[in-house]
Amino acid sequence: MFSYPLVNVLGACLIITSMMVVLARTGRAAAFLYSFQSLMLVGVLASLGFVTGSTELFTWSATAFVTKVVLVPAILLFTLKKIGKDAQADLPPKLNPMKSVALVAVEVFVCFVAVSSIDLPTALEVKPTLAVSLAHFFIGLTCIVIQRSIFRQIFGYCLMENGSHVTLALLAPQAPELVEIGVATDAIFAVVILAVLVWRMAHYAHTLDADDLCELKG
């Protein structure tokens, strides 16, 4: 049961959930979806732990559960509440859902092609997941690029973070816990800071529209 195929299946779920995060209509929905998607991530980590027998990964999944499934969505929801009427947090994305899906598909494909050319003993079994993690990262980037609301761009950052987290777990299962904790706390701090920044933006500038943030130019 706990073998590489499970890891790969969970990896595929990651892609789908992350796409849902990108496509979600409201910030609230996105936050819940993100929580769900992080759960998948925890699953991936845990199953990897079973597969490789590395105890570190269990610690990882535990921290990931606390930070990503619980803390981050909570922070984001809290931010959304704080923003309240200060500014419109839900803005339609620059790209319509159809095109976004197509774009994501292309990215996943490219990542698969790219990863398939890599031969690394550690990653031999989990190549699909490796590709997924890379694609996950790029989906996060896509989210930042296509969203107009900077609140939604935080999700983009979180997705990127998740993607690199998975990669870290795949490529460095034996890395010291401290490293992982560093990465995880970094992510938490980043989200907190982004959230505060978004709140301030709403509070002081009354806009969350990225198109309004083009005053500083070359």
Binding site: L141, A172, V179, A190, L194, L213, E215, L216
Partner: protein
């Protein structure tokens, strides 16, 4: 007290200071308390940093917490930069913040935030420089971004917040690529090393570097160069740089430009060393060269065009980082020496210039160069410093950047990369045009009527004078310890080369090598 402890103290001081400041209640604590903590922490950083640097220059390799922290000649050079510039800008912050508070731009909580994050920022840079764990390196670079976001956005105007947002988004996105590069190196090393736990340590990877997979190492280097290059401000990843530098308070801009960019360059250099040890130096050199030449050429024209004082300086940073990249791209002992000297020279010069831009803003309340004129008659000391700083930045003797630029040209001519040399020189002329025009238009000329005569507080001038003196001293002489440290650092960078040139005087060896060694082929071969 052994050096490892000092290293820990060095790391601990700013964190403690930041925590202490954060804990104090913002409403009731007088500003002086923050300032005292701030200054004490920075002085501790200066003392500890310089002590460590000096011992590292003597040839000590200092490790702490196992192998997690490591200070060698190379990182000591950058630590030295932090230890000098951070206190200078820190002390400069006092009058600057006081001025802004008096102007009503900053409230008490913002002041608290400013000092807390300032210490945190210093900490994260020290961490980036001293960490030996490559993943930790990434974490610390990310930490520098996070700790400076609120410094950039401290004014809470729309523009400042916009700049902060751009800064954090572009940098985290870029630096995330760096994580991929780091991970690839780690995975690669873990495969071949007996103890995979050791594969996170840079010092442990280096001896095994030649056995890593070539394609992966190249990919990893590209990721690292792009990722950490974003933080360093290389074209086309530099886009956050002018915005953040222009909107941040001047001391922060000074620290960002003077030190942070160099720290990022150090990280890139670490990966450069690994990649060069693995695939030979021509590929990483090509990458650095392309990034460098593009940065220099792009930024030079932007420097000329900009009409905003701090944006101009920011683009000039981009241009100088490009020059450093070109130096590493040229390679060879001379190129590396040139790059390292330029790191130091530019760090000091740019810190000076950003501090001076703070003076200008205190007097004129604008960054628009068309409204700034007659600085010398308005504030004589600032004006003279400003003119001297511009000349220093333009690479005139007797200032430090002249030496490194000469080295770069020499290295370029010796390596026969004429195309790069010519492009860079054209760009340099454009930059000089821009800077001399700035002297002509802003430092000199008729002062506007509505600006009050008189200089800024003495406390603001002292750090600037110190920086200018340093720039001047480095321009007329490379003192023994510094020269030695640069030799050490270069030797570390060149460790991938077979013949170890680091005997008595690397400088002379490097020069002499030009004549003996067959001139290397163009970087593309």
């Amino acid at each position: 007290m052994d050096y490892s402890t000092i290293l820990l103290i060095l790391l601990g001081c700013p964190v403690l200071a930041a925590l202490l400041i954060a804990v104090l209640p913002s409403k009731s604590t007088p500003r002086a308390a923050y300032e005292a903590i701030h200054v004490i922490a920075l002085i501790a950083v200066a003392v500890a940093g310089l002590t460590l640097s000096v011992s590292a220059f003597m040839g000590n390799d200092i490790f702490a917490v196992g192998e997690w922290f490591h200070l060698d000649g190379l990182s000591a050079l950058f630590l030295c930069l932090i230890a000098v510039i951070a206190p200078c800008t820190g002390i400069y912050s006092l009058p600057y913040v006081a001025h802004d508070v008096a102007d009503g731009k900053l409230g008490p909580s913002q002041v608290k935030q400013y000092y807390a994050f300032f210490s945190l920022f210093v900490f994260s840079m020290i961490l980036a420089v001293t960490s030996n764990n490559i993943i930790m390196m990434w974490v610390s670079v990310e930490a520098t971004t996070l700790s400076t976001v609120f410094l950039v956005g401290v004014y809470r105007t729309k523009l400042a917040l916009e700049a902060a947002w751009k800064y954090v988004i572009v940098c985290t996105a870029g630096v995330a690529f760096g994580l991929f590069g780091t991970l690839l190196i780690y995975a690669n090393a873990a495969d071949i090393m007996a103890d995979p736990h050791q594969a996170v340590f840079w010092t442990a990877i280096l001896p095994n570097a030649p056995f890593m997979d070539h394609s992966l190492t190249m990919i990893a280097f590209v990721f690292a160069a792009i990722g950490f290059g974003t933080k360093a401000g290389l074209f086309p990843m530099h886009t956050w740089l002018p915005d953040a530098h222009s909107e941040a308070p001047s001391p922060v801009s000074a620290l960002l430009s003077g030190v942070l960019l160099k720290c990022a360059i150090l990280i890139v250099l670490r990966f450069f060393i690994l990649a060069a040890a693995n695939v030979g130096d021509s590929f990483p050199q090509t990458v650095m060269m392309i990034l460098g030449v593009l940065s220099v050429c792009y930024a030079a024209f932007e420097v000329y065009k900009q009409n905003d004082l701090k944006r101009k300086l920011a683009y000039s940073s981009c241009e100088n980082i490009g020059l450093i990249a070109v130096c590493f791209g040229i390679g060879g002992p001379l190129g590396i020496i040139a790059g390292l000297v330029h790191c130091v020279a530019h760090g000091l010069t740019k810190a000076l210039m950003f501090c001076l831009s703070g003076n200008v803003m205190m007097k004129y309340h604008t960054r628009d160069l068309s409204k700034i004129s007659g600085l010398i008659s308005v504030a004589p000391v600032t004006g003279v410093l400003f003119a001297a700083g511009c000349l220093a930045l333009a690479g005139f003797p007797p200032f430090a950047m002249f030496v490194s630029e000469m080295f770069m040209i020499l290295a370029g001519v010796a390596a026969q990369v004429w195309w790069a040399v010519v492009l860079v020189l054209i760009a340099l002329v454009v930059v000089i045009m821009a800077l001399v025009r700035m002297i002509t238009g802003s430092a000199l000329g008729r002062a506007p009527e509505d600006v009050k005569r008189g200089d800024v507080p003495v406390l603001a001038l002292i750090p600037e004078v110190v920086l200018l003196v340093l720039v001047l001293v480095l321009g007329v002489a490379l003192p023994g310890p510094l020269a030695g440290s640069i030799e050490n650092a270069t030797a570390i960078v060149l460790s991938y080369e077979d013949e170890n040139l680091a005997n008595d005087s690397l400088f002379e060896d490097a020069l002499a090598a030009l004549a003996v060694v067959e001139v290397p082929e163009g970087v593309f071969e």
